[in-house]
Amino acid sequence: MTMVIPSGMPQYADAPRLDVAKIRADFPLLDREVNGHRVVYLDSGNTSQKPRQVLEAVREHYERHNANVARSVHTLGTEATLAYEGARQKVATFIGASSAEEVVFVKNATEAINLVAYAFSNASTDPSADPRFRLGPGDEIVITEMEHHSNIVPWQLLCQRTGATLRWFGITDNGRLDESGVDTLINERTKLVSMVLVSNILGTANATSRIRARCREVGALLMLDASQAVPHRSVDVVGYDCDFLAFTGHKMLAPTGIGVLWGRGELLAAMPPVLGGGSMIETVRMEGSTFLPPPARFEAGTPPIAQAVGLGAAVDYLTGVGMDAIAWHEKELTTYALEALATVPGLRLFGPQVPVGRGGTLSFDLSGVHPHDVGQVLDAEGVQIRVGHHCARPTCVRFGVAAMSRVSLYLYNTTEEIDALIAALGKVREVFD
């Protein structure tokens, strides 16, 4: 039976679409074989593959425009600077930032989070620093049990250095964030809440509104780790109304070595520098120095120029396909994968069991076969998945396992690849049963 949707309402055909065959043709790697099989790449949560358009942009930069940025009067230096700053503007537009000056280029999301942590650290030993960044005994930082190690360890280290206390939200049995303690966990002592937008291991897409509202009530800052969100769905920093947002380029079709810290302009301006060196100074005297405004203040040394250009090209590519179309494609694939995985005997899926409030990251246990063994047998069938603790050991511990097997989907994946995964999981049972 077909439901008729009244005219004037959004129709099924209005769903944003992408042509997956056309997209796959842009990714040379998807053509190769692995162990005698056409590669089935289901590890984009780890790092994404790169389209020709990005590879071309990086090559063209090196072949035609290569020079250092922000310090040369010559033509090549000007071209390189324009390309680097152009990439910054593209990223700003992509995440809805009000200005390109709010986009700090870093190495990866880990560095973005550490940059904020060390800014807090530096402010804490400087009595004249902005009090919002000053930490000491009695102050609290709040994270969640669902975080990647990169959003746990920098805060543990910061708390060790400053005497502040680290607290965290737990995870429900369904793999959702347990927000029940929000009013006590986040309180007048809380200086910063840092949480993941989409879990890299459970796939959970976290709601932020209650936590954000509580942060505003008590005057705490809110940082979002959007590493698994920005590549997959439209993320708007104004919409999220956060204070800092971190993500990395290599998970969103760009090269490795380039990541982004977005910060609210007035906050970045109030933050002390972290790395000192060239490109971040205003005046250097032997007695002391003054520093440039953001983003340059946080970009000491020669930055990853070609990688930034590659990130700009990746943003163009994703925008061309359309983030809503990508999100919809992944939602359909996730629905298909959830139903298919449910047919595998002995498979236990961790995290949300329904394709709502989750991304296309699916972690599971296969009847006690160690994930390394699952990954090895799948590899022999050409199927590339990630196995291990996924840099989220506390989440594994929460669900009572040492490791998980993880499938992570992206815009170039197909239902045929999920079929190949299911068939390969059958081989695992043949070897170990």
């Binding site: 162990n35 076969v369 160690h370 994930p371 390394h372 063994d373 090895q376 047998v377 022999a380 196995v387 291990g388 603790h389 050991r393 594994c396 040492a402 490791a403 070897v431 170990f432």
Partner: protein, 164 residues
């Protein structure tokens, strides 16, 4: 690459029916070794009398390769002199790190030659070596403190030498 090079019958047999598993007393040193990339862990005890490895007992969680290699280790080294056992550990280490370049000697390694296939899978070498490195570490500590004599729970409750 052929999967059955890696998952040989001998390995699957040791994985499904591990020999010598379970922590036993007496022992001189207990160590815990961890593979940080996957979280696999092994707790391993050695009991040495004079220059002889009298017992190796272990407990842990991990993949088939790491679990089977602990079982194979137990069978290979128990009853041998410390020098002989450590020399076989070195031979095993060389074999699995060789990228398939060395010809394993069955008279030295016995069932452990089944792990020659692991050397072609660099991502799995650490799995195969986990318990062997733990044994090497524990034995070195036991030899260094050999004057102390064996520990039992009655003598030293919860006694744990090694790198916790």
């Amino acid at each position: 690459m052929q999967l059955d090079q890696l998952y040989q019958e001998i390995i699957l047999d040791h994985y499904k029916k591990p020999r010598g598993r379970g922590l036993r007393e007496p022992y001189e040193v207990q160590v815990r070794h961890v593979n940080p990339t996957c979280g696999d862990e092994v707790d391993l005890r050695v009991h040495i009398e004079g220059d002889k490895v009298v017992d190796v007992s272990y407990e842990g969680m991990g993949c088939s390769i790491s679990q089977a290699s602990a079982s194979v280790l137990y069978e290979l080294v128990v009853g041998r002199t410390v020098t002989d056992a450590l020399s076989r550990v070195d031979t095993f280490t060389d074999m699995v790190a060789s990228r398939g370049e060395t010809e394993p000697d069955e008279s030295v390694l016995e069932d452990a030659i089944a792990f020659a296939g692991v050397s072609k899978y660099p991502a799995r070498v650490k799995c195969a070596l986990l318990s062997w490195m733990a044994f090497k570490d524990a034995t070195a500590q036991a030899v260094a403190t050999s004057a102390v004599g064996p520990r039992t729970s009655a003598v030293g409750p919860g006694a744990e030498g090694g790198d916790r």
